[in-house]
């Protein structure tokens, strides 16, 4: 338990240092763009494919249930609320934790094991600012965008499943999907993924950057990055939902 608390404290200080360093020169624009490509565009196929499949599967399941109550017309609405409020942000966070988080942890741990981080320091370049901060910024910026792709690919998958069953037009599907939708249903859940991204970037970078176990540490850093990031996303999700309900009480109704 002491170890868990100690690690939690270290990760928090690590994230705080990154947040402060993000506003100090140099701003590492090239590194941020490089990492955005790594975290964002390379995660895109996985996010879109997963969203599409989840959307289709969810429609198939809800359809069989809602048919019993004669409420199949509500399928698009259920689908939109489910994806924009919860499935999109949470699943995107977990997917990125798995794909990009493990990559960040492994790459930084490998750089530590092969003395590349020492090499950067020996050249009077701040390795934390050069390697860690851009990765955390990239995760923070990429998550909301990836979440939107997940949300809309989920809707598309849901629409195709519904179209196959009822030949509902796309126009009517979208009209029903967003008829009850408010901006407060859209922005807070989407933007909360910035917090997920910050957590993924910070936790993964922490386990990679601070390892000192050589080659063995690379695998350990990758595993810890995924496990702890995923767990943290789920815990943060609970806290952020309560926070969103507090700020936008109408979304809790």
């Amino acid at each position: 338990m002491t170890n868990v608390l100690e690690t939690a404290g270290k990760v928090s200080l690590f994230g705080l240092r990154a947040a402060i360093d993000a506003f100090r020169r140099p701003f590492e624009g090239a590194q941020i763009v490089r990492n955005l490509a790594e975290v964002g565009s390379k995660s895109l196929p996985l996010v879109i494919a997963s969203g599409f499949a989840l959307g289709a599967v969810m429609t198939l399941h809800t359809r069989s249930t809602l048919t019993m109550f004669g409420a199949t017309a509500a399928i698009p609405t259920v689908q939109a609320f489910a994806f924009f409020l919860e499935i999109g942000p949470l699943v995107t966070g977990l997917l990125v934790a798995g794909r990009a988080g493990s990559g960040i942890g492994a790459v930084l741990a490998d750089m530590r094991a092969t003395e590349q981080i020492d090499g950067i320091e020996s050249l009077s370049v701040d390795s934390f600012k050069y390697l860690v901060v851009p990765r955390i910024i990239a995760c923070t910026l990429a998550l909301p965008v990836l979440t939107l792709f997940m949300d809309f690919s989920g809707l598309l998958g849901g629409f195709l499943a519904e179209y196959a069953a009822s030949h509902l037009s796309l126009q009517l599907y979208l009209s029903r999907a967003f008829s009850e939708f408010a901006w407060s249903n859209f922005w807070p859940p989407t933007l909360k993924t910035c917090v997920f991204g910050f957590a993924i970037g910070t936790i993964s970078s922490f386990f990679g950057y601070t390892t000192n176990e050589g080659a063995q540490g690379v695998g350990k850093a990758a595993t810890n990055s995924v496990v702890v990031s995923s767990l943290m996303i789920i815990l943060l999700d609970v806290l952020l939902i309560k926070f969103i309900f507090f700020i936008f009480p109408e979304t809790a109704l």
């Binding site: 092969t114 590349q116 320091e121 020996s122 009077s124 370049v125």
Partner: protein, 247 residues
């Protein structure tokens, strides 16, 4: 820093990792412009010595002066200023594997100098020419052979024109001819640019070629220091064995 004055002073330096004492009260100094080789069995704190010099590690006790500055007390800009005087050739070169050779060398020039892009190109071409890699600057580190990686690591260590060059096992994993070529590059750097060399090595032939003086460590303590002939005549048997082990 002028010839004869100490470039590096190690004064009663101790370093431990947990219960393992790697260095205990070690003191030595190297005059500017000289080449010192640190010799010793594996695990006697040779690489740790280099990392202490450039403050990648902090000692538990003692002081380390570079050109009069105590690096054990420096942080931030002060440490950065001292590190700029020091080039470091890592054992496995430690090139950044996501950057090309050109980008590896350009990184410190972009960060730490006010050179124009044309001046940066010129500086990189000059130093890559020195290590005979002028035609390889677009290559990734993974495309370089072992000897080329060492020379590339040396080029990166030299690109900021350091006054002091630290080299960790520069000939390890290389054949004798390539190892001799690397030693030749180190000696040329010393003679042409008056660079102070600190070379950690197991290669006695290389030590004999390069060293003006030899620092011999054993089990974390300094057991002998002096010129190669002085070490050969040392009262310490381990020191004599280490300097003569390849003979």
């Amino acid at each position: 820093m002028t010839d004869g004055q100490p470039a590096i002073v190690f004064d009663q330096v101790s370093k431990a990792f947990g219960a393992k004492h790697v260095l205990s009260d070690v003191s030595w100094s190297v005059p500017a412009g000289e080449a010192a080789c640190v010799l010793g069995r594996s695990g006697t704190g040779k690489s740790v010595t280099l990392k202490l010099i450039i403050a990648l590690l902090k000692p538990d006790k003692g002081t380390i002066q570079i050109d009069g500055d105590d690096v054990t007390r420096l942080n931030g800009p002060g440490l950065s200023r001292v590190r700029r005087k020091v080039g470091y050739l890592f054992q496995d070169a430690a090139l950044f594997d996501s950057l090309t050779l050109y980008e590896n060398l350009a990184l410190p020039l972009h960060r730490l100098t006010h050179k124009t892009p044309a001046e940066i190109d010129f500086a990189i071409d000059r130093v890559l020419g020195q290590v005979e890699l002028a035609g390889d600057k677009a290559k990734m580190p993974s495309e370089l052979s072992g000897g080329m990686r060492k020379r590339a690591g040396l080029a990166r260590a030299l690109v900021l024109e350091p006054k002091i060059l630290l080299a960790d096992e520069p000939s390890s994993g290389l054949d004798r001819i390539t190892a001799a070529e690397i030693d030749e590059l180190l000696l040329r750097q010393k003679s042409e640019f008056k660079t102070t060399l600190i070379v950690v090595s197991h290669d006695v032939a290389g030590v004999r070629r390069v060293a003006d003086r030899v620092i011999v460590l054993d089990r974390g303590t300094l057991i002998a220091q002096g010129t190669v002939p002085e070490i050969e005549q040392s009262e310490n048997e381990t020191a004599r064995k280490l300097i003569g082990s390849n003979q």
